[in-house]
């Protein structure tokens, strides 16, 4: 797990902790947790070196974290090392857990992740959710959350929060899905429809996918644009290790960046938006295929079989992506672009034309494009890990 340098003064929410003695203590507790989570098992002395506090100060902090059940003492380290043997510390396997959930267009999934980042329980339900009312969909989701939560509790974990990824725009800092065109949900307040036993976070799937990439990806930079697709195309920008959400939480709507401004009308009201060229349905149409259950799987399979229609459709989608990304790269100057979710599976056939367009249009200032290693699990993992990160960011709050 890559450990990005962490600004302990801000939690995942971006809200600064108070700048007082007590606030400083809470931030230092967080520094200890992050050091052990990223580099553990560690002795107290190693923690002190990593975070630049005295060993005495670290010992007091560590004792508090052990009492709260967030850190475990693994017993004396093996002999042979220099100095008095210290007891190695590790993040607890039986403390708080993050429950992540994803409302997909054709699936629901839920998982529980412990403080070490391990998935400890998981449940999935396949089925088309397009056009279904929110209530029955969320009823099924609640059943999956209960199942995963009780599995987690049996394993000695304590669910600390629920984070839900949705394929649509979420009003910043609320539980309201403003618009999820492919579910046909508008202004649905999930906080009113989900049980309030757990603290709830709701966010766009592209945002959680980008966070998963940041937290779990291999050698991921702190500045990148994460592009994902299910039926629509979304993106999320990570700057200095933090999501850029936009004023209302609507940032990252790459799917509606104009590519050919006089092109086909888009349901958004625009013309020639990227989704009209690189969205799943547009690609299936261009390839002469019927939208079925596993649309991306079908495209990947046919492309691998060298189906000329499918390859040509994906070539065109890649070129449109390259033009839209030229605008994004010019505006944002990310270190890299990561194709996540469904796009990662289609990357071999999208990348060549994408890179040609992006390369020739951003000569000298371009940036690397790569496929994510997390595949379609990104948003679900990002959701569960966001709860875990909130505990690491403010362990005193989690223990309370």
């Amino acid at each position: 797990m890559t450990a990005p340098p962490h600004d302990a003064r801000r939690g995942t929410s971006g809200a600064p902790l108070p700048d007082t003695q007590r606030g400083m203590r809470r931030r230092n507790l967080s520094r200890v947790m992050h050091a052990v989570a990223a580099h553990g098992p560690l002795s107290r002395a190693a923690v002190a070196t990593r975070i630049g506090l005295t060993r005495a100060a670290v010992s007091t902090l560590v004792d508090e974290l052990i009492r709260s059940g967030l850190l475990d003492e693994l017993g004396p380290e093996r002999p042979g090392k220099v100095g008095r043997p210290g007891s190695a510390l590790a993040v607890s396997r039986s403390g708080p857990a993050g429950i992540g959930a994803e409302v997909g267009v054709d699936h629901l999934s839920v998982c529980a992740v412990d403080l070490r980042g391990e998935v400890r329980a998981r449940a999935v339900r396949q089925g088309d959710n397009r056009g279904r009312a929110p209530e029955p969909v969320l009823k099924e989701l609640i059943a999956l959350v209960r199942q995963v939560s009780s599995e987690a509790r049996l394993a000695g974990l304590r669910p600390a929060g629920l984070a839900v990824a949705v394929p649509g725009l979420v009003a910043r800092g609320t539980g309201t899905v403003v618009r999820a065109p492919n579910l046909d949900w508008n202004d649905v307040d999930l906080s009113a429809l989900l049980p309030d036993r757990l603290p709830l976070t709701v966010d766009n799937e592209a945002n959680f996918g980008a966070l998963a990439e940041l937290w779990l990806g291999d050698e991921v930079p702190q500045d990148f644009l994460h592009v994902s697709a299910e039926i629509g195309i979304g993106a999320a920008l990570v700057v200095d290790g933090r999501l850029l959400r936009g004023t209302r939480g609507f940032a990252g709507e790459l799917g509606h960046v104009p590519v050919w401004p006089d092109g086909p009308a888009c349901p958004c009201g625009g013309r020639g938006c990227l989704e009209q060229y690189a969205g799943e349905e547009a690609v299936l149409r261009a390839a002469g295929l019927d939208p079925g259950a596993d649309r991306v799987g079908l495209l990947a399979e046919r492309a691998a079989q060298a189906d000329e229609h499918v390859r040509r459709a994906l070539h065109g989608a890649g070129a449109a992506l390259g033009i839209a990304l030229t605008g994004a790269v010019n505006l944002l100057d990310p270190r890299s672009v990561v194709l996540g979710g469904a796009l990662s599976r289609l990357a071999p056939w999208l990348l060549p034309s994408l890179e040609v367009e992006l390369g020739r249009r951003t000569a000298g200032t371009g940036c690397d494009v790569a496929a994510s290693g997390l595949g379609s699990d990104g948003p679900l993992l990002g959701a569960a890990h966001s709860v875990v990160r909130a505990v690491l960011d403010d362990p005193a709050g989690a223990a309370a």
Copy 2:
């Protein structure tokens, strides 16, 4: 002067101050300076209320700031107020000053701004700098900086730093102009060519223009996209009151967002970039006018006279801007778009077609567009104020 809520933990550079007792003291000194700068004159008691510290703590901080010459005591407040009369505090008129400079395509300008934000000295030299080598241009700039600095010193000020705005890409955190196409400068290290008596900052003119808007504009939100133009078109994004610079410092290249991807070739290597439709030279060409000395003035004058060719050219430029901004608004979700610099003078004729394109392409998620009140002074003022802000952000460092 609008006072944005200030995160005293980060300086203008974004670098957090150390999280120690001493760091806390430095941050609290900064809080006092910002409170007095934004709302002064204030009594010690009023400062204490504003920043949430005890009156005793504030008094100690204020005494230090008075000793350092950063705050002035104005004498007892007028009687009639409740309680013991306190002495009102104001930011010093004779402390450190920020020296701002602008290398424009057809001018050089320099000014000195005191801690209260007042311009206390100013010098301008008109003249075409296109194609001139950096050395003679910077020699002239140095002469202007010396003239303005000695005027400032005669007025009792102490120049604390020099910030230079340039019409090109600046490598983040360096003094190197990577590319300024309209000057024809490539990889010019200004820190090697300017005298090192003052701490130097170099940045893109759009970035300084956006900061000026943030610091000096009327009712400016903390999240906006600032679009400016001289010959090229640049933009700068402010998020939560801070500039989004991009990985290499190249963010905001709105001028090279593709508008019609099969359009005319652009010197950047791309095709159909925004500058090919809305850059000054493209508009002059579309209007059938020769590029002269005061190109924007000429366009504004002819448009005001209802010249049909000019109005049609500006209508087309506005539409292209609207298409490029559709992409930017979809990606960034800013609260508003501000047209600054030359664009603010042409706004009356650009805005109608711009708003039609942006409005119909971002139905329901669009954002306001307005012209800046600062006009073409923005970058110069932003540069000078950036030095002043650095003093307010870390007064202990400035006094040292």
